[in-house]
C-alpha cells in the first residue's frame, strides 16, 4: 500500500503542469549557473596566472632593492574551482594584496569594486538558485499536499479505505520528496558531467568530497521547506491560507532573519570602524617618519668626524645604523598597529560569529555559510588568506631591509642589482576537508533539527487532522 501511495504521489506530481514548469526552469537555471560559473572560473584562473607572471616580472625588473621595497610583491588570491557552485564572498572581497613595509596587507580590487552593479544583484550561482528558487518550489509542491486533498474530497475517499494515516503521510512524504528531487537531481548530474568534461577544469578528490557535501546540504535545505510545507498543510483548512503562511515564513527565513541578525549583532556587540583604526595608524606613521629624518641627521652630525678618518668604516657604521634603525622603526609601526588591532580582530570576529549564529536560526543562512565553507569561498577562507599575508609580511620585511642596506654603496650612491633567488615566498595552505566539515557541522545540525521538528509536527498533526 505504501508503494501505491508513493507511486500515486509521484505520478500525480509529474503529470501536473507545475512539475513541467519546475523541471524546465530548474534545468535551465542550474545548467546556466554552472556553465557561467565555470566560464567565470576559467577567466579568473587565466587572470590569476597572468597576474602572477606579471608580478614576478615587475619584481625582477626593479632596478634596486629600495624600488622593490616601495613596490612590494603583489599576492593574488587564487580562484577556487568550487566557486562555480557557491561564489560566497569571493566577489565581494579583494583579490590582490600588496606587501609593503609601512602598511598591513589587505586584499583589494574586488569584483564589486570594479563593477559595483554586481553587488546589487549578486551572483547567480547554484547556491542562490537552491536558496531562492528551489525552496519556493518545495513550498509550491507541498502547500496543498494535505489540505488540497481535503478540499478535493480525495482525503475522505482515501481514508474510507483500510489506509492507516501514518502510512498515508509516509507515502506522501516519500513520494512528494522524490517528485521534488527529480527536477534537481537530473540537472545536477548534467552539471557534474559538465564539470568533468570541461577542459582545464579539474577537481581533486577533496573537491569532489566537498561538492557531494554541498549537494547533501542542498537536499537537507529543501527537506526543511518540504517538511515545513507538509506541517503547514496539515495545520490549515484552506490551501490559500497554507500558501500565504508558507510564503510569510519563507520571507522571514530567507530575507529577514539574515539581515536582522547582522543589525542585531552590531547593536549587541559594537566595534570601532575600520576608518577609525586606519586614521590612527596613519597618524602614527607620519609621526615616526618625521622623527626618523631628524634621527638620521643627528647620527650623521655626531659621527661626522669619523667620516674623514675612516670613510669605509663610517660607511659600514652608517649602513648598520640604518639597518638597525629601519628594523626598529618597522617594529615600532608593527607594535603600534598590533596594539591598535589587538582587540579589533577578536572583536570583529566575535561580532561576525554573533551575527552568523543569530542568523543560523534561518535555514537559508545555514545553507549559505555551510556551502561557502565547503567551497572555500567564505569569510573563514578570506580570513585565513589574510592571516597568511600578515604572517608573510614580517619575513619579507626582514629580507628587504637586510638587502637594502647591504646593497647600498654610500660612497658612490650605487645600489646593487636585485636578486630574487632568496626572497621568501608567500605560502597559503587551504583548509582541509575535515576542518571545513567540522566548521559546517552546526549548519548540518540546524537543518536536521528543523527537519525533525517539522516532520514530527506534520506527522502528529496529520494523525489528528480533521479530514471533513
Amino acid at each position: 500500500m505504501l508503494k501505491d501511495i508513493i507511486k500515486k504521489e509521484i505520478l500525480e506530481t509529474i503529470t501536473s503542469p507545475k512539475f513541467v514548469f519546475t523541471f524546465l526552469l530548474c534545468a535551465v537555471l542550474i545548467l546556466l549557473s554552472v556553465y557561467t560559473g565555470i566560464t567565470t572560473y576559467r577567466s579568473e584562473q587565466k587572470e590569476y596566472n597572468a597576474a602572477v607572471a606579471l608580478n614576478k616580472k615587475n619584481l625582477e625588473s626593479q632596478s634596486s632593492y629600495q624600488a622593490l621595497a616601495g613596490l612590494g610583491p603583489k599576492i593574488d588570491k587564487p580562484p577556487h574551482v568550487l566557486s562555480t557552485i557557491a561564489s560566497g564572498v569571493s566577489e565581494a572581497v579583494g583579490r590582490v594584496a600588496s606587501i609593503n613595509i609601512a602598511y598591513d596587507p589587505n586584499l583589494v580590487d574586488s569584483k564589486y569594486e570594479s563593477n559595483p552593479v554586481f553587488s546589487v544583484f549578486g551572483a547567480l550561482d547554484l547556491t542562490f538558485i537552491v536558496k531562492i528558487v528551489l525552496s519556493l518550489f518545495a513550498i509550491l509542491f507541498t502547500y496543498d499536499a494535505i489540505v488540497g486533498e481535503k478540499e478535493r474530497g480525495t482525503l475522505k475517499l482515501t481514508l474510507s479505505n483500510r489506509v492507516p494515516r501514518d502510512r498515508l503521510i509516509m507515502g506522501k512524504v516519500i513520494g512528494g520528496y522524490i517528485s521534488l528531487l527529480i527536477p534537481l537531481i537530473i540537472p545536477l548530474i548534467l552539471s557534474m558531467l559538465i564539470l568533468l568534461v570541461y577542459p582545464n577544469v579539474s577537481l581533486t578528490g577533496q573537491d569532489w568530497g566537498r561538492l557531494m557535501l554541498m549537494f547533501l546540504m542542498f537536499f537537507l535545505y529543501l527537506s526543511v521547506f518540504f517538511t515545513l510545507g507538509l506541517l503547514v498543510s496539515a495545520r490549515t483548512n484552506k490551501s490559500s491560507t497554507s500558501f500565504l503562511v508558507l510564503l510569510f515564513i519563507w520571507v522571514v527565513f530567507v530575507t529577514i532573519i539574515p539581515k536582522v541578525s547582522i543589525l542585531a549583532a552590531s547593536q549587541l556587540n559594537p566595534i570601532p570602524s575600520v576608518h577609525e583604526i586606519t586614521a590612527k595608524k596613519d597618524a602614527f606613521l607620519q609621526q615616526v617618519q618625521g622623527g626618523a629624518q631628524k634621527k638620521v641627521l643627528d647620527w650623521a652630525k655626531e659621527n661626522a668626524p669619523n667620516a674623514s678618518k675612516d670613510a669605509k668604516k663610517y660607511q659600514e657604521d652608517f649602513k648598520k645604523f640604518l639597518e638597525d634603525y629601519q628594523n626598529d622603526l618597522t617594529s615600532k609601526i608593527e607594535e603600534n598597529n598590533a596594539a591598535l588591532e589587538r582587540d579589533y580582530p577578536a572583536r570583529k570576529t566575535s561580532q561576525e560569529r554573533l551575527a552568523i549564529n543569530i542568523s543560523r536560526i534561518s535555514p537559508a543562512s545555514a545553507l549559505m555559510f555551510s556551502t561557502m565553507s565547503l567551497a572555500r569561498t567564505g569569510l573563514d577562507d578570506h580570513e585565513q588568506f589574510l592571516a597568511s599575508l600578515r604572517a608573510y609580511k614580517p619575513s619579507f620585511t626582514r629580507w628587504i631591509n637586510s638587502r637594502m642596506m647591504k646593497s647600498i654603496n654610500f660612497a658612490t650612491g650605487e645600489q646593487g642589482k636585485v636578486n630574487l633567488a632568496d626572497m621568501p615566498l608567500h605560502k597559503f595552505e587551504p583548509e582541509s576537508l575535515s576542518k571545513s566539515l567540522a566548521r559546517t557541522l552546526p549548519d548540518f545540525g540546524v537543518m536536521l533539527v528543523l527537519i525533525i521538528i517539522f516532520f514530527a509536527g506534520a506527522y502528529a498533526s496529520f494523525l489528528k487532522y480533521d479530514v471533513r
Binding site: R152, T154, K156, L159, N161
Partner: protein, 238 residues
C-alpha cells in the same frame, strides 16, 4: 448491515450534532436520511467512517464497532461523497486503479476497470481522459465506479445527486437500485426528496441530531413526501 446504537456526537463548543441516534440499514435496503443543513446527516456518515470519534454510542458496519476496529470496518463499506474532485491529472483508469489498490484489491486488469466504468454509465471515450475535464455527473459516476469495484456490502452516500442533471440523476438512481438488488445496504443522506421517493425503502428525518421520523415505503404510499418534510421541519422548529 449498517447500524447505529445511541450514537451521539457533541463537539467541544457544546454543539450537539448527533443525539442518541439509533437505526439500522438492512442488506438489500436503501435508507434515505433527510434533514436541513446541520441536522447531523453528514456527521452520521463521518462517524461511520470514524473520521470523528463519537461522544457516546456505537456505529457498526457488518457488526464491527468502527471505533474499536476502524481499519477492519472500512473493508465492508464504500463511500461516495457529494462533490469528489478525484485526482484531476489522472484518467478514470488511473483513479480507479489507485483507489482499488487502496481498497486492498489486487490483480485487476484494465478490462475489469472498463467493466466497472461501463456499469456506472461513463462514456467509453472518457476512460482515458483526465478527470479534471469531467462534468460533475461524470465525476459522480467515477466515484460510484470506485465504490462498485470495491464490492463492499455497505454503501454510504453523502448527498450524491445534488447538482446532477435529470438524466445523470436518473442513471445514478438506477445504479443504486442495482446495488440494492445485489443485497447491499445503502445509506444516503440527501435533500433530494423527489429522487429519494423513487428509490427509498425507508426514509428518516433528522433534526438537531435526532431521528424525528422514520417511515417505510408502505407508510409513504399516498403521502406527499415534500409536504411531510416541510411539516416536520416547521413543527419541530427547523
Amino acid at each position: 448491515m449498517l447500524e447505529t446504537i445511541n450514537l451521539t456526537k457533541k463537539y467541544e463548543d457544546g454543539h450537539l450534532a448527533v443525539d442518541h441516534l439509533s437505526f439500522k440499514v438492512e442488506p438489500g435496503e436503501i435508507f434515505c436520511m433527510f434533514g436541513a443543513n446541520g441536522a447531523g446527516k453528514t456527521t452520521t456518515i463521518n462517524l461511520f467512517l470514524n473520521f470523528i470519534p463519537p461522544t457516546e454510542g456505537t456505529a457498526l458496519i457488518e457488526g464491527i464497532d468502527v471505533t474499536k476496529e476502524p481499519l477492519r470496518s472500512k473493508d465492508f463499506v464504500s463511500f461516495v461523497s457529494e462533490n469528489v474532485m478525484l485526482y484531476g491529472s489522472f484518467s478514470a483508469y488511473q483513479n480507479l486503479d489507485y483507489f482499488t489498490k487502496l481498497a486492498g484489491k489486487r490483480g485487476l486488469t484494465k478490462v475489469d476497470y472498463a467493466r466497472a466504468l461501463k456499469s456506472v454509465g461513463l462514456q467509453e471515450d472518457a476512460f482515458n481522459t483526465r478527470s479534471r475535464n469531467y462534468s460533475k455527473g461524470m465525476r459522480q459516476k467515477l466515484g460510484l465506479a470506485i465504490a462498485v469495484i470495491k464490492g463492499a456490502p455497505n454503501i454510504l452516500l453523502d448527498e450524491p445527486t445534488s447538482g446532477l442533471d435529470p438524466k445523470s440523476g436518473q442513471e445514478f438512481l438506477n445504479l443504486l437500485i442495482k446495488m440494492r438488488d445485489e443485497g447491499k445496504s445503502v445509506f444516503m443522506s440527501t435533500h433530494d426528496i423527489f429522487r429519494a421517493k423513487l428509490i427509498a425503502d425507508r426514509v428518516g428525518f433528522m433534526k438537531k441530531g435526532k431521528l424525528v421520523m422514520l417511515k417505510t415505503r408502505a407508510d409513504l404510499e399516498g403521502e406527499d413526501l415534500t409536504e411531510l418534510y416541510i411539516q416536520y421541519m416547521e413543527e419541530r422548529g427547523a
